[in-house]
Subunit: 384 residues, 2 copies
Amino acid sequence: MREVVVHGVGQTPVEEHWERSLRDLATEAGLAAMRDAGVERIDAVFVGNMLSGQIAHQENLGALVADWMGQRGAEGFKVEAACASGAAAFRAAFLAVASGALDAVLAVGVEKMTETSGSETTAALASAADADYESVQGISFVGLNALIMRRYLHEFGWKHTDFGGFSINAHANGARNPNARLREPITERDYSRARMICEPINLLDASPIGDGAAAALLLPADKVARGPRPRIKIAGSAAATDSLAVHDRKDPIFLSAAHLGARRAFAQAGVTPEEIDFFELHDAFSILAAMSLEACGFAERGQGPRLALDGTIRLDGRLPVCTQGGLKARGHPVGATGMYQIVETVQQLRGEAGENQLSKARIGLAQNIGGSGASIFTHILKTD
Amino acid sequence: MREVVVHGVGQTPVEEHWERSLRDLATEAGLAAMRDAGVERIDAVFVGNMLSGQIAHQENLGALVADWMGQRGAEGFKVEAACASGAAAFRAAFLAVASGALDAVLAVGVEKMTETSGSETTAALASAADADYESVQGISFVGLNALIMRRYLHEFGWKHTDFGGFSINAHANGARNPNARLREPITERDYSRARMICEPINLLDASPIGDGAAAALLLPADKVARGPRPRIKIAGSAAATDSLAVHDRKDPIFLSAAHLGARRAFAQAGVTPEEIDFFELHDAFSILAAMSLEACGFAERGQGPRLALDGTIRLDGRLPVCTQGGLKARGHPVGATGMYQIVETVQQLRGEAGENQLSKARIGLAQNIGGSGASIFTHILKTD
């Protein structure tokens, strides 16, 4: 298996991009990644996207994005794994380059969610859940996560306000990220007074949707000369699934697919959780942040919230989390989110993370979750 | 790059499966492929599908199908490239096994199209075309292909009836395939009297939609012992794109992505077009059959119809085509079609093609087209 490096990254801000289409966003991020890598011709583009068919009546995004980027002829397809579509496209790109079949492969995540009504978007997002056993009952995606959080509070005895640290940290970091959708810091008071969406999830537990695209250009390590800028190696790439229906899981408050994937990725990279310098986790809801920390071995079962309470997850803590604002503040354009996580991980490892730059960033973990825990993609990136 | 073999195949009949859901169909085909391979545990399942989000409000098919097959935990994602989603999933599976990262990978194509109204299905299928520059004008997918066929007739001077041989051959073969949707032979008279859908495409130029699933289990060659049954090697795997919008192509009546992909696949497999024993081509419309033959080097430009007229494409001809009925008669459950082509290719190579078995079947070509020529995946399978 060939070693694979990320040699270029690009992103658009996460916003309501009413004047730009899906293809414009993907093209902007993709071309930025190619320029960053100094690559003019790609072999393939794999597009992570969840909702283009339902919202924009546009499928066949592989060919569309290749053409719009001026790369007509390059192979391409769309990869979908609900909110983990971005990292799924990254994994497909990794496998393609690792195989030796392709050299320059672009993974781009893109989503455009703000041009339809809220109820249409909510209905489309529900397609990440089990249509026959969950969505058909009328439960929304927020509703499913609220059930999970309620059970978690009950089992482990936490109060809702114990989760505030996740959102406060995300907003603090997002405020210093020029590409973030929400750039205002929030306080404990804001958090505890935010209006309830679906008990116990309030507005400041939930990440905002948005439009955006993020991309990474992958190359085989042996074709990238070492230069002044650190080379970023994909040291671990793993994925696993759980049932779509939350009620069907062995343990609905444990992310078993995150646990499986992380264990594999750690083994591939030859590192332990203690060696991870920062963690771009999938805080679609604050409860998922706590559960991710537990599943990946950073906290004991039921102890995830402690890492927010004691400051571990802050930029100056032992394990900074969501260093550019995470889903909560950078925003969650669903099919693009996994690629934003990869781009932000690369920025930290290169020392290009601006005001949110960590003093120590040699090994980063990125984890993208699709369908309240069903499809989980875990990557470890390392300076080389 | 590791050598990859197809060690098991499975399929459901193409029908109106009103009593079975998308997940049931995918599971039936997937488990059949696993049984055929004698494999009980898979590392991953990649699901080729185009319309599940728009028609069934169900995405996240990787996790869903893995779970339903009893393979919870195995990684998975959905691969979409319009009507080429099936072969795109097969290519993703090939790259994954070739890389060395995964061993037992299942590619399954599945589509369920008959439970919505015809107009809804037509609208959903139009998402394969360019939403902003084609579908927005109100043109359907049949309409686009009719424009292509009309131009082709004009440029090369053929009559509509010269294309009848493609449909007659497909129906003759489909009549002997127990999994085919249309099992009635047709005559030249039937063809020339069929009612017009969108001039010059009539009902017998067009393939029927349907519900169905087909699957293949891929393994690294070095983990498959040679037995009494021939091993089937993936000797060539290539893909290429063209613009989605037909009007934007350099030459709208030449399948440049088929040409590019076939050239690469031939080079990988080390074979010439003359050495191909049969060709499972993408006859969504008879015009596409003619254009595929030209793009892949079996006919000169503008001479594709000749191979139908002179019997070359029949089971007893020099280059049998659509040996189990093709899209025209076996049926075209869009995201599954590419996997049906792979399954049928394997059946021929193994000598398990029933009444349609060819006397010589050592090297087979399968080509799957998404979006009237935009996304094209080409595979060469060989007995080993």
